[in-house]
């Protein structure tokens, strides 16, 4: 990229800049015509110039074309019009000119805007392209949030500047020179004075603005660091809370904001000082004209007319001049920003673009061996973590690499994964330097999973299949409006020097999955086996069971789940296990559910406020009234209050039972106690007020007879509650209807989780192991109905959050390994990939992974840097590192007998 922004802009928009300049020049013609026209209208038809006699006409639009030397070659005598007609005609021309000028302005502005946006797009793309091509060590030093703030915010002004970069100075400069020239013509010496003042202005103001630019630079850097700090706080929020350092962070932020404030305040002071000087200088010239010009006039050296002409001509000078100086200020400003950004995006070397060439077809050739040739690797501080390492791995080998002392094994694995570049020596794949191979070869032949994995914001499935998205494998054919849109996208992308790959094409390379039988379900099988191998399947099943999906989109799945619901019910009945679940039945009270649940008989939309907005609504109480439930529920609430006060009243405020047993706090118990006392003092027949009524009724909603055992639910009452369901749902007002979805045994409930939809009832809490029993039966039914894969599919849609933070650490590590296992590669490198797992699980997963990969037909090599050295037994070859170099290399058995280091490690 060019060092100067102007040059950069010129290089990429040269043709457009010249074009727009021409347009601007052309637009000047109607612009000046429009200036002259009002005078004509006033002097002519309005004041009657040329229409002195009655019935006089004027020729309209008469013109002659005259060429020098040749003489008149064309003459048009015009149309004779009378006074009123001329007024109409001239006014019409004026209107026309106004429209033409407006259109010119519109066109020019749009054009400039587009020019700027294209350039902005180009710069941003180039910057991100550079990020993608930075050597790995370089990116370790930069702060992600700062880089993104640079790409997003700091380049923003470039776009605005681009449109004006050349047009503005050309136009304003022309105007200023014209004005100056005009003054010169009037009087040479006064012209010289004006020219000198202009020179001083143009010389001094930009100098004064140096300080402004310096401040601007500081502002930019501090703002960037501030962005970095804010993102630091967000990412480290757990650590901040854990160590009680929130106030330290507050102090830090406050300090930074103070610094930014100081810079900005300085900036304002300078800005307005410069403005003041600038204004002063431009006002100084008329002063000189008046005083010196006036003096000369009095002395008789200058006539009055000339002086007035000069002063009039000077009116047109300060405007363009000021704007020109402003333009220069903007130029310096963006230039500084540009340099600043560029500085951060310069690296001594870049990955050459050829390494990143798009390669849609992967040739199926297997590559081997993978070798390190005299490799030396340095860490970030420059210390050598591996030195002079030479080792060769062939396809089909299973290799464990273990470290005795130092981190040589890890560093070597990272070099294989191209996470670090060796400082001396090279890594070769089939005798070619790995760093010179296109990534379409190295990135597919080698699958690397390290301990620090990164996940992209999206679903679990997107992340699992991420390693298969190398290039678009199909082209989408668009038609109609979409085709136009796509053509436009491609055109614009090329105009801004962007890549025009289609993100909507199929990027998944289905031919490079680890399980490959040439069948359609290769991808699915690879995915499921990979998940099984890392023991992630049950986690995903859990995620699925707790998630919801839109039955409108997945109609078939919803229908099959309802089907499974019925199948589960009949299977349970057949096994004599019906008593484990109390189903939701529209015409029956569910004794395992609370009074409130029985009334609402549906799933509430997630969010605490939703439930309250329904339960507190007047509509709800109207329903209770018409169902004749107000009185009984009030009585029930009162009885519950009496019992609760009896049980909890004497407990200390902080007793754990308040959290555990009931949803009430000690204070609320007190409130109810007061209420009960108030009722007791009241003469019989006095009705409770609205608030009292409602708070008692609210208490009854949580009542579950089987759990509370106060004996308050009579058969009549439960019958009434069941009847109230229809009343409640039939006329649900619009603002409440979205909050709840009624249970229907024959329909999928969109608001309820998968699990609730399958069970469609409440587990009997009296039966100790009801949950386990149901799970066993349900799992059988699920397989019988062939829903296993569909459920996992729902689980795979789980949104894992930014950086995968909605998953646990262990889940992330497993996912990271699974992501490699889905890919078909010649070498699988696992670099201490499972440190968070306990030893037993670790050893199971290592075994699963090795077995899984060995089962496939492509005979890959597995190279595993182990943190748990005893697992080396599972590998055919063991390489032992000691202080950055290879100490031993051989089979487990030979090393166990011969190598002292190895013996001590494994023992």
């Amino acid at each position: 990229m060019e060092k100067s922004l102007l040059r950069y802009i010129w290089r990429h928009t040269r043709r457009q800049q010249l074009f727009i300049l021409a347009i601007v020049a052309a637009s000047m013609v109607p612009y000046f015509l429009a200036f002259d026209l009002p005078k004509q209208i006033i002097n002519g038809p309005i004041q009657g110039g040329g229409f002195e006699s009655e019935g006089a006409t004027q020729a309209y639009m008469d013109f002659t074309v005259t060429l020098p030397w040749v003489g008149t070659i064309f003459q048009f005598d015009g149309i004779p019009l009378d006074r009123l007609e001329t007024l109409g005609a001239l006014s019409a021309v004026f209107l026309l000119l106004v429209i033409i000028n407006g259109l010119f302005k519109y066109y020019i502005n749009t054009y400039k805007g587009r020019l700027g946006e294209r350039l902005l797009r180009r710069i941003r793309y180039q910057l991100v392209d550079r990020i993608l091509r930075f050597p790995p060590s370089y990116l370790k030093k930069v702060h992600a949030a700062e880089v993104s703030s640079m790409v997003k915010d700091e380049v923003e002004p470039f776009g605005g500047f681009t449109g004006d970069a050349f047009v503005q100075p050309a136009m304003l400069g022309g105007q200023a020179i014209a004005a100056l020239f005009f003054i010169m013509v009037q009087n040479f010496w006064l012209g010289m004075i004006a020219a000198t003042m202009v020179a001083i202005q143009v010389g001094i103001i930009p100098k004064m603005r140096h300080r402004l630019i310096e401040l601007g630079r500081q502002r930019q850097v501090t703002a960037r660091h501030f962005a970095g700090k804010v993102s630091d706080i967000v990412e480290g929020i757990g650590t901040i809370h854990a160590f009680d350092t929130s106030n330290y962070e507050r102090a830090d932020i406050s300090h930074r904001l103070g610094h930014i404030y100081k810079i900005r305040y300085d900036l304002y002071q300078w800005k307005f000082l410069v403005k003041f000087v600038n204004n002063f200088l431009s006002q100084l010239t008329p002063f000189l004209f008046y005083s010196i010009g006036g003096y000369l006039t009095l002395r008789g050296n200058l006539d009055v007319g000339q002086l007035i002409a000069v002063i009039n001509a000077y009116k047109d000078l300060p405007g363009p001049l000021k704007e020109l100086i402003d333009w220069d200020q903007a130029r310096q400003d963006v230039q500084v920003k540009y340099e600043q950004v560029l500085e951060e995006f310069e690296a001594p070397t870049f990955i050459p673009p050829t390494v990143h060439t798009l390669a849609p077809k992967s040739d199926d050739k297997s590559l081997s061996p993978l070798a390190a040739v005299n490799v030396t690797i340095e860490d970030q501080s420059g210390a050598r973590v591996a030195e002079g390492v030479s080792v060769r791995f062939e396809r089909g080998e299973t290799v464990a690499i273990i470290d005795n002392a130092g981190g040589g094994a890890e560093a070597l694995a990272e070099a294989f994964g191209r996470v670090v570049w060796p400082v001396i020596g090279k890594i070769t794949l089939q005798e070619t330097d790995l760093l010179e191979l296109p990534e379409s070869v190295s990135g597919r032949a080698i699958s690397y999973s390290g301990a620090d994995s990164y996940f992209f914001h999206g679903s679990l499935k997107d992340n699992l299949l991420y390693g298969l998205k190398h290039a678009p494998t199909s082209t989408v054919t668009y038609s109609g409006r979409e085709a136009t849109q796509r053509r436009w996208e491609m055109h614009e992308a090329r105009m801004a020097g962007n890549a025009d790959f289609d993100i909507h094409a199929e990027w998944l390379d289905r031919g490079t999955t680890s399980v490959r039988n040439g069948q359609k379900d290769d991808l699915k099988n690879s995915l499921l086996s990979a998940l099984d191998a890392v023991q992630l399947t049950s986690d995903i099943m859990d995620l699925a069971l707790h998630s919801t999906f839109d039955p409108e989109v997945h109609t078939e799945l919803a229908a099959r789940i309802v089907d499974m619901r019925h199948a589960l019910r009949s299977t349970l009945a057949a096994k004599g296990l019906s008593h484990l679940v109390v189903y939701f039945e529209p015409d029956r009270y569910n004794i395992e559910a609370s009074v409130g649940e029985n009334l609402l008989f549906g799933t509430m939309k997630q969010g605490a406020s939703n439930e309250n907005s329904l339960l507190d609504s007047d509509y709800f109480y109207d329903v209770l009234r018409s169902a004749a439930l107000l009185e009984p529920l009030f009585d029930m609430g009162t009885a519950i209050a009496e019992n609760l006060v009896d049980i909890f009243g004497s407990l200390p405020e902080d007793h754990p039972f308040f959290q555990q047993m009931i949803t009430l706090s000690a204070d609320e118990i007190d409130v109810y106690e007061q209420l009960l006392l108030r009722f007791k003092d009241r003469p019989a027949g006095v009705r409770p007020n609205r608030d009292e009524l409602r708070s008692m009724i609210r208490l009854s909603f949580n009542y579950v007879e089987l759990r509370y055992r106060f004996g308050l639910l009579t058969p009549e009452l439960s019958e009434k509650i069941v009847k109230a369901r229809d009343l409640l749902h039939d006329k649900l007002p619009e603002h409440l209807s979205g909050l709840i979805e009624r249970y229907d045994p024959h329909r999928y409930i969109a608001l309820a989780s998968l699990r609730e939809n399958i069970l469609f009832g409440k587990l009997s809490h009296r039966i100790a192991d009801a949950g386990d029993q149901i799970r066993a039966v349900a799992s059988g039914v699920m397989h019988e109905k062939d829903l296993y894969a569909s459920f996992l599919g729902v689980g795979l849609e789980f949104d894992i959050g930014a950086g995968g933070r909605r998953l646990t650490l262990v889940q992330r590590q497993k996912l990271n390994v699974a992501r490699s296992l889905i890919r078909r590669s010649d070498f699988y490198i696992f670099n201490r990939a499972l440190p968070g797992l306990d030893r037993r699980v670790q050893s199971e997963i290592v075994k699963n992974v090795v077995d899984f990969l060995k089962e496939q037909d492509h005979d890959p090599a597995i190279i595993w840097v182990l943190s748990n050295t005893s697992l080396a037994r599972m590998f055919g070859r063991v390489v032992v590192f000691d202080r950055g170099s290879i100490a031993d290399d051989g089979t487990f058995e030979t090393l166990e007998q011969e190598s002292g280091i190895f013996k001590s490690l494994v023992a």
Partner: protein, 153 residues
């Protein structure tokens, strides 16, 4: 069975006889009701214990593992408590309890029990009852030992 009936029943159990009824109600409320079919285990010898069971209805056998299979060493029916030792100290179940008829029981968890016991008055009453029980068992054991010795001699 309603909560207040459970409280009545708890009061008939020696450990809780002298505990304030209000507290017993709290204990009952904090405990959950469980149902078992015939021939189900409430708990198994050697498992870690975390709760006691008050049988409300039905009966169960107390069994101990011996070299030649299980030996029945006792039986519990309504109004009896089993597994209560674990409420006061950690340890494993010393016997297996298996139902012989369908059983309704109140499951008192150690956690809930400890929280009801926060009150010193309650603790005193319960520990006194436990001590008495221990006293009875010890003297029974002594008598058995004396009997055994006489048999040997």
């Amino acid at each position: 069975m309603l909560l207040r009936e459970e409280v009545q029943l708890l009061r008939r159990i020696p450990y809780f006889a002298k505990v304030d009824p209000c507290r017993l109600k709290l204990l009952a409320f904090a405990s959950s009701r469980v149902s078992y079919e015939a021939n189900q285990e409430l708990f198994h010898q050697g498992d870690a214990g975390d709760c006691a069971y008050v049988l409300l209805d039905g009966s169960a056998d107390i069994l101990m593992e011996a070299p030649d299979g299980e030996v029945k060493i006792g039986e519990v029916t309504g109004d009896c408590i089993v597994g209560e030792v674990c409420l006061l100290c950690d340890g494993v179940r010393t016997a297996t309890v298996r139902t012989t008829t369908p059983v309704e029981a109140l499951k008192i968890c150690k956690d809930a029990f400890a929280k009801v016991l926060i009150d010193p008055g309650v603790t005193r009453e319960v520990t006194r009852a436990f001590a008495e029980q221990l006293h009875r068992t010890t003297s029974e054991l002594d008598r058995t030992r004396v009997g055994q010795r006489q048999l040997v001699n």
